[in-house]
Symmetry: D2
Subunit: 259 residues, 4 copies
C-alpha cells in the first residue's frame, strides 16, 4: 500500500530558545520503503540528526527561537502482509535476546508489573500468539475511543480503570498487558490512513515467533497500512516532539492518504 | 448471633513515647448489643476516649512509653437480619442527606473517580440494589484472597489491577466501585467468626433504601455475624491502631467465636 | 471587613439530566455574618438543601436538564482578627477530640503519610504554631503561583515536586504538610478580594490552640478578608460544583469586592 | 583498586519452574578489568547468556526448577581516576547522540517529568557539572540512609517526599533530578567495598563532558572503588535477578573486599 503523508507543525516558543527533538519522518525499513521525502525545518541554527531507538528511524535536534515550524512530505510504500497472530507459537522468555529484555519490563506509562495479576487470572491458560490475539481483542472491546478524557500523563493503569482513551492509551494498555504476559512489547509512532480525527497515530508491536508484529488495538488501521516513525518503551520514547523548554501550540495538521 | 471476642496486642515503641489511637472496641448500636466488655490498656498516663467517625464506636488515645499492650474481651449480641440487596430501589444522589455526601466521593485509598469509566461501561444499566449486588459478585469473583501481596499503602486501583488481596483490599475495591456507581459507601472495621487467618476484619457498608447495608465481598462472613468496630472513608479512618511515632510488632492475636 | 460577592455560573449538561451538588453560598458563622444573600438557580425540579461538612455552610442538590445556571449575590460581614500563628502552643494529638481525628489523616489529594519524612527531617524540632508558621512560610516561598500547570487530579505530592500551582494546590500542600506534622488541617473553599484572576478561592485551616485558624499560603488574602463557603478533607469535599453526569463550561464569573 | 567479590544466592522456586534473568557478573570494561571470574549456577537446563543494556555486561537466562542457586567469585581490577564533576562543562541536549536520548526521559521509577519544577526553581542557574555536583550534594544531604522504609515499588517521587531510603532510592532520585536538569542519567548495579550492610549496590551514572561519570549519592563508595555489573534506565533494568514466576528468599550473601 502506498501512503502519502503531509505534516505541518507550527508552535510558538515561549521564553528562551529551546532545544527540540522532532521524530516525524517515516522510518526506512524492509517492510516500508520511502519513495520520496522532504523535511523542511525553519531554523537559523544547524540541525543535528540522530538515530531513533533500536536504530529505527531518525530524530532531529533543533534549536528553536520564538518559533518551531516544520513541514514534512513523503510517499511511503508499505509492503507488509497481514499476519494472523493467534496461531503464532510462544517463545519462552529465556530464549529472548538481550535487546528484547527491556521490552518485557515496566516503563513510565506501562506499569506491566501491576497488571500481572489481571493477565494471569483472566488469560492464564493462553500464551504467545493466542494470548496476544486475546489481549488485543480484549483492549479493543473493553475501551471506548474518546478524545479529551486522557492527557500526556495518563498511564496504562489509568486507562485500565477509565476504560477509555485515544490511540496512545490503547497502545499503552496493550503493551503493558502483553509484557505482563511475558510477550515483549514496544510502542510505535506511526502514520496511517483512516485515523479519525487525522493525527499522528500510536500502535503496539509485539514480539512473536521471532519478529515484531504491528497491532493497532483501536482497529483504525490494519498492519499493512501503517508506516512506522519510531519505536520505544512507551510515549516518552516515541513522542513526535519533545521540547526542552516551553512551546505553545499554534497549529498542526497531519494528513495521510492512500495513493 | 452471639460473638465472643478476645484481642491481645503487644507492640514495642521505638524511640520517644508515642501517642497511639486505638479502635478495637465493638460499637454499641441498635443491631449489635454489647453484652459484656472489658478493655485493659497498660499505661501510666491517663487514657482519653473520643467518638469514632459518624458517632459510631469509640477510640482511645494512649500515651505509650516503650510498650503498647492492650487486652480486649467482649461478648456481643448481633441481631441483624440478612438482607437481599438486589431488589432494593435506587436513591438518586440528589435525595441524599449532607452527611452522606462524603461517602460518594473519592478518598485516599478508594479512587472512585478513576473507576467511573469501568462501572459505567460494565454495569451501566444497573443502579441501586441491583448494582450493589452485581458489584459485590464481581469483586468476590474477580479477586483471589491472598495474604502478603498487598500492604498498608495498596489502593483500590492497585487491587483492581492485581486482582488479589486481603479483606482490606476487597472492602476498598467494593467501596470505590459503589461510589463510582453513585451509591454511598464506607469502610467498616469489624469482628467476625470464620475469618481465616483470624484477624481484625474489614468490610463495606453500602447505603441503600435509606439504610447502611453490611457487605463482605470476601464472602467470609454473612452480615448477621459481623460486629462493627468503626466506620470511615477507608482504611485511614478505621485502622485498629494509628501510631504517631514508631511501633514494632511483638505479637497480636484476635479470636472471634460464636457462642 | 465587608465583602460583596457576585457569582454567575453557566454550564451545559451533555447527555441525560444530571444531579449537581453546588456549594457556593458563604457560610453563616460566628466570625462571618451574612448581611444579605440571594441564590437563584434556574431549574424546573425542586432544589434540596443539605448541610456541608462539619455542619458548616450548605449545599444544594439540583436536577439539571440541558443547562445549569445559577446566580449568587451576597454581602458578608467578616469580623475576624488576624492571628499570629507562631506563638500558639502545640496540642498533643492525644488531646484532640474525635471529630478532629479525620483531619490528621491522609486524604485523596493530601497524602500526608508520604510527606512525614520531609516534615520530620526539615522541621523536626518545631511543633504547634511555630511549625504551622514555618510550613506556611515554606509553602509560600517554595511554590510559584502559576495557572494551567495543574488540574483537578493534581495531588499535594505532585505539587511538592512541581513547585507550582494555583490556590487549590497551595492549600493541598499546606494541609498535607500540617497533618504530617501532627496538626489537624482541613481545606476551605472561600471568597476573598484580591484573588487574581478572580475566582473561587481555596485556603487551609489549621487547628491550633483549640480553634481553627485560616491560612492562605498564596498570601493573596489575609485571614480577616476571607469568607468561608465550605470545609472538608480536600478538594473533593469543597468543590464548588460536583456533577454526577457530564457538564460543559459555558461561562463563569466570580467577583469579590470590599465595600 | 583490586576488588574481590563473592556472591551466594539461594532461592526456592514456588510452583511451576520459572525463567530467571540473572545479572550478577562484573562487566568487562576499559576502566574495570576482570582478573578472574567464576559463575556457577546449579541447573539441569542449558543457560543462555545475553548482552546487558547498552551492550554492557551480560545476563544469564536460567530455567529454575524448585531451586535457584548460584555462586559468583571474581577479582576485578578497577582503574578509574576520581573526577571532580563541578568544573565539567554543560552539553546542550541538542548535541547528544541518539543513544543518550532515552536517558533524558522519565522511566518507571524515575519520574523526571514531575521533578522539573523543583530542579528549575532550586538549581535553575546551574547546568552541566556544576548542576550535577549540586544535585549530588543535595541528595546526599537531604536523605537519610535507612533500610526497610522503601521497597521494590518505591519511586523517585516517593523518596523525594519521604527523604529516606537505601542505595536504590538514592540512585533513582539523583537520576530523576539529573534528567529533569537535562543531564543524561542512568542507573548502575555495582559491587563496592564498604557497603553496609553488605549487599548489591546501586549508583548513578551521569553523562558529562562526553563520558559517563559514576556517582554514588550515598557516599558509601568513591567512583574508583565501584565495579559495574549492569546499566539501565532504573531498577527495572538493573535488577540482579528478575523472576518470571515466584521465588522465595532462602539466603543470600554478597561480600566485596579490597585486595
Amino acid at each position: 500500500m502506498r501512503l502519502s503523508i503531509a505534516v505541518d507543525l507550527n508552535y510558538a516558543i515561549v521564553g528562551p530558545p529551546a532545544d527540540v527533538l522532532l521524530q516525524i519522518e517515516a522510518a526506512a525499513m524492509a517492510d516500508q520503503r520511502i519513495a520520496s521525502e522532504a523535511l523542511t525545518i525553519w531554523s537559523d541554527s544547524p540541525i543535528a540528526t540522530v538515530r531513533g531507538e533500536d536504530g529505527i528511524g531518525q530524530r532531529c535536534w533543533i534549536r528553536a527561537e520564538q518559533w518551531l515550524q516544520a513541514e514534512y512530505r513523503a510517499t511511503v510504500e508499505v509492503a507488509r502482509d497481514p499476519v494472523d497472530l493467534a496461531p503464532l507459537p510462544a517463545t519462552p522468555v529465556r530464549a529472548l535476546d538481550g535487546a528484547l529484555v527491556q521490552y518485557l519490563l515496566p516503563s513510565r506509562y506501562c506499569q506491566s508489573d501491576q497488571l500481572e495479576g489481571f493477565v494471569r487470572r483472566e488469560f492464564g491458560r493462553l500464551e504467545g500468539g493466542a494470548l496476544a490475539a486475546a489481549l488485543t481483542d480484549w483492549v479493543a472491546g473493553a475501551l471506548d475511543y474518546r478524545p479529551n478524557v486522557s492527557s500526556g500523563v495518563t498511564t496504562a493503569l489509568d486507562t485500565f480503570a477509565s476504560r477509555s482513551g485515544v490511540c496512545r492509551d490503547y497502545a499503552h494498555l496493550l503493551v503493558a498487558l502483553a509484557r505482563a504476559g511475558e510477550i515483549p512489547a514496544r510502542c510505535v509512532s506511526a502514520y496511517a490512513p483512516g485515523v479519525d480525527p487525522p493525527d499522528f497515530h500510536a500502535v503496539a508491536e509485539l514480539w512473536l515467533d521471532g519478529a515484531w508484529r504491528l497491532v493497532d488495538a483501536t482497529r483504525m488501521a490494519p498492519a499493512e497500512a501503517i508506516a512506522r516513525v519510531s519505536v520505544g518503551r512507551d510515549a516518552t520514547d516515541i513522542a513526535f516532539m519533545t521540547v526542552f523548554g516551553v512551546a505553545q501550540f499554534v497549529n498542526q495538521t497531519v494528513r495521510v492518504g492512500q495513493v
